[in-house]
Each structure stands twice: as structure tokens, then as C-alpha cells.
């Protein structure tokens, strides 16, 4: 387990080395580390941000120093505490044995209207993958996904589990504006544009769900570790749900 500074007010814990090899195992280890660090409530700790193989701890150095961290070595003080927390009882990344079950793991179905008007890159994805549009839709709906990480824009889920056959490179020229709710494929990942934003992924449909709502707490529908599948809906259902 490697711990490196992320500037003077944060650090990155590399929980596992590889993501692509076994995304599930990597994610379980990262989420287990996140829970343990949350529970430990280190002095001066302000935020934890998981992403694929790593987790960042954001801290207030002034608070940490007041709590006893030596000014000459705030980073090592945190790193040592983190190692103690993550290596206690059993290591977080012991081949997944200890982290097989993730308590509170959620399973969420996302309704998607796959129509050319909303999924304006369906034709291109079909052409690239040498499938019909319907085959693309069926395959996208049949797979099981997992949120590896939330970011890019608030509430944007990066999903692992895209069938290899659907992998489509990002567009060479990103679009200036993609509507909120757009479901898209970027390389070997799929994701959902949670807010209106620029973007380079291939849009294949749109969900009426509002994935990010600042009036709610938590503000995002999805979080790292969630299991996700897509359910095709008709245009009528889409319009009704959007109201």
C-alpha cells in the first residue's frame, strides 16, 4: 500500500495496483478502506474521495498540527496512522478474502430511452461495433455494471462492466453541450451525464432520472460500489417520468 502526498492538504492512498484486471476486487478494497478511514475520524480529516484504485484523504494541516502532528512531518504522521488503521485486524487488499461482502451494497435500475433523437450517436456506435442499433441496445441493457467512481461533473457515474463488444472510442471532437441524463459510451466505460456539460463520449440514450440534485443530501443518486443495470423505456414513459 503506497501513500503519496497530494499537495500540502491531501494525500492519496493507493489501495491496490490494478483496476482493469479485477475491477470488483479493487473497488471492494477501496470502499472497505474508505469505511475504515471514515470510522477512524483522524484529527483534521475533512473529506475522503475514492477513485478506482485509490482513495484521497483531504485534511486541514493547521488542525492536524494543533492535534499533535509534528510540523516537520505532517504527512508521515497521517501516513503512519492510515497504515495502522488499514492494516489492523486484516489487510484491506488480501486477495479479496476479507472484503467479499460489502454491507449495504445497493442495486439500482436506471430507465433509459434509447431513441435516435435522444441517443444521437447510436448509429455511430452500431457502425463501429458492427451491430444493429437494436443489438447495441439489447446488449447495453443485458449487462450488469458497477459504479467505479463518481466525478467529472457532480453525480457523473463511471461504470465498469461494459461488454467488450460495445467499446467505442471517444469522439475526436468533444461536443460543447450534452444534455443532462445522457447515457454514453467512452472507450471501455459507460456513464451518465449527470448535468448539462461538454463531453466526448458517444451518447446512446437518455434517462429521465435526475442523477444530481443539490437540494437533496446526498445530492447524487449513485455512489461508488453501486450495482447498476439499464432498463429500456419508451419515449412515452420517458416523457411521463420527466414531468
Amino acid at each position: 500500500m503506497q501513500i503519496t502526498p497530494l499537495g500540502d492538504s491531501a494525500l492519496i492512498v493507493r489501495v491496490c495496483e490494478d483496476f482493469e484486471g479485477s475491477p470488483d476486487k479493487a473497488l471492494n478494497a477501496v470502499l472497505a478502506a474508505q469505511r475504515r478511514l471514515e470510522n477512524a475520524a483522524l484529527p483534521g480529516a475533512m473529506d475522503l474521495a475514492p477513485a478506482y484504485t485509490t482513495i484521497a484523504l483531504f485534511f486541514d494541516p493547521v488542525h492536524a498540527i494543533q492535534a499533535g502532528a509534528p510540523i516537520e512531518n505532517v504527512f508521515d504522521w497521517f501516513a503512519q496512522k492510515i497504515r495502522e488503521i488499514l492494516n489492523s485486524v486484516y489487510p484491506v487488499a488480501d486477495n479479496g478474502q476479507a472484503v467479499k461482502s460489502v454491507p449495504g451494497e445497493r442495486s439500482i435500475a436506471i430507465p433509459v430511452c434509447y431513441e435516435l433523437e435522444l441517443g444521437f450517436d447510436l448509429d455511430e456506435v452500431a457502425a463501429h461495433t458492427k451491430m444493429s442499433v437494436q443489438e447495441v441496445i439489447d446488449l447495453h441493457c443485458s449487462a450488469r455494471y458497477r459504479v467505479s467512481c463518481v466525478g467529472f461533473t457532480p453525480g457523473f457515474p463511471f461504470l465498469s462492466g461494459l461488454p467488450d463488444k460495445l467499446a467505442t472510442p471517444r469522439r475526436s471532437i468533444p461536443r460543447k453541450e450534452i444534455p443532462a441524463g445522457s447515457v454514453a459510451i467512452g472507450g471501455r466505460q459507460t456513464g451518465i451525464y449527470s448535468t448539462k456539460s461538454p463531453g466526448g463520449w458517444n451518447v446512446i440514450g437518455r434517462t429521465p432520472l435526475r442523477l444530481f440534485d443539490p437540494k437533496k443530501n446526498p445530492p447524487a443518486v449513485l455512489r461508488a460500489g453501486d450495482r447498476v443495470r439499464f432498463r429500456a423505456i419508451t419515449r412515452e414513459e420517458f416523457e411521463r417520468a420527466g414531468k
Partner: protein
Amino acid sequence: MKATIARAGFLSTVQDLGRTSLRQFGVSLGGALDAHALRVANLLVGNNESDAALEITFGGLQLRFSDERIVAWGGGEFAVRVGSTHLPAGHSVFIERGEKLEIDRPKTGCRLWLAISGGIDAPLVLGSRSTDLRANFGGFNGRPFRDGDELPLGTNSERAKILISKLRGEKIARWKPPHEWSSPTRPEPVLRVVRGADWDRFNDVTIQRFTNQRFTVSPDSDRMGVRFEAPELQRSRTADLVSEPVAPGTVQVPPSGQPILLLGDCQTIGGYPKIAHMITVDFPAAAQLRAGDCVRFREVSLADAHRLLIERERNLQQFRRGLQAHFS
């Protein structure tokens, strides 16, 4: 209990100290790009240091007050006036009912933070009053001000009321914080950095270039980050990395080789190599950078970064204690 934005200027938003604990949902820190300037300006008007204030980019703003207030500002080299009275940075100033405050374009630097006693009474959204311009929420309806907007203000604190009675005559307070707190703009600043996780991915020549040459700020810089035009930083390995958390202050190097210094509105994760991280006490200088400005980067140790931060924090505590005398 309000101020009217007679002219909104180039880009003016409500900001406080931002959203510090929602990164797992992809919510940016946001907040004042120079958090220290915001804290100092708030203290000068009798507010809590985390209260919401205005972040004004490139000036052009006119603000009319409907009641008596204390204001204070800090940031770039701006001309700030009420009628024919010039308002210097870093001083508490009494504003009468109906007076109009005008901010011109800056000579150097690009942003200022204007605190108003009582604070900006924008609703708390996800724990902060800051405007998130990427996702359009928080602050004033999730957007920059427009001409004619009415800005809701909070109630003057007891401390502000005492200042109002004291400054009614002389208008501008005589005391002020250290000069660099309210006027942090410097020609060709040296931004101090600590090594990033990917420092070793760059060869010696590139590291030499990074720490020795001048970098010019590109026009497509914004609250997300300062982009630099030249010189290019070559990466020894070009493979894209798995995305990892990034933070304001991170200097990342995209395939173009032109580094980006991330600021408050940056994304929470990124896939570009992180060559270095600017230290916290240099955000005030970085927040003033505009197109054409030149900077240099210099490596310091993490211990230096923390020593400088603690020193500034101690000075701020002392300043806060000193202010108490004026609030009684």
C-alpha cells in the same frame, strides 16, 4: 437588507469557503479562489470569516446599498470608489444608505473579494453559499450576477454596528492587515510547489524546464484552472493513467505538454500525470493570474509548506485579536 447590482461587470459571483466534504459525489470544493482574502475581508467588516462575500473578476461592477453597511475588499490592483472617495484595499469602510460602490477594471491581477457586513444572505446549498458555475447551483440562483439583480444581505452583527458608529465620521478605518494579505498581486510571481505523485515520470530535462523557465498564462484560464502556453513539458511515458483524485493546486500535464494549475472549481478526479502541487499559501498569487502573465515554479519541501501555512495562520489569529479592540 439588500444591495442592487446596478452593473454586474464581467463575472461576479457569491462565494464563501466552499464545499469541503462532498468529493465522493463529484462536487468541487469551489469557494473563493483566494480563501485567505475572503477570511480577512470578512473579519474587517465584523463577519464570521466563513461568511459569503462577492468574488468579482475583472471589475466593471456597480453596487447600490439600501442601508448602512461596512465593506472591505482585497485582491488585485483595482480602483474601488464611492462617489469621489477612493476605497483602499484592506480597510473597513462605512457605506451610507443609497451610496453606490463602483469597481473599475484592474491594472494588475484579475479578482477581488468584497465583504459586506451581515454577509450575503444566499441560501445554504449542500452546506455552502458558494456559486458552482460548472453545475449551476448555489450562490445567486447558481449563476453570475446580471444587471439589476437584488442581492439579499444578512443583518449587521453587533461588531459591525459598533464599527458603523465609529466610522460614520471618518468613513475609512485607519488600521489594516499586512499589505500582501489585501494586495497579493506580484509581477512574475514564483509559485512554490511540492512534488506530485508523477514527478518521476518526467525526465531530468523536463523537470529542469519546469523549475527554471517562465510559463505564460493562456487566455482560456478560468475558475477551474490556470492554463499555461509554453514551454511544453514532455512526458517520458505517454500512456493514460487510471483516473485519480486531484485537488486545487495540482499541476497536471495533459498530452499537449502544456501544464494546467487546478483552482477551486476543478474536477474531483483526473487522469493526467500530476507533476507537482502548489502550496496553500500561494493561492492568493495564483488567483490573480491573467492571460499574458508569467510565473515560475520553485520546489519546496512539505515541511516548508506547512511552516508557512502555520505562520500565516498564527498571524491571522493575532490580527483577529487585534481587531477586537476596534469592535468594543
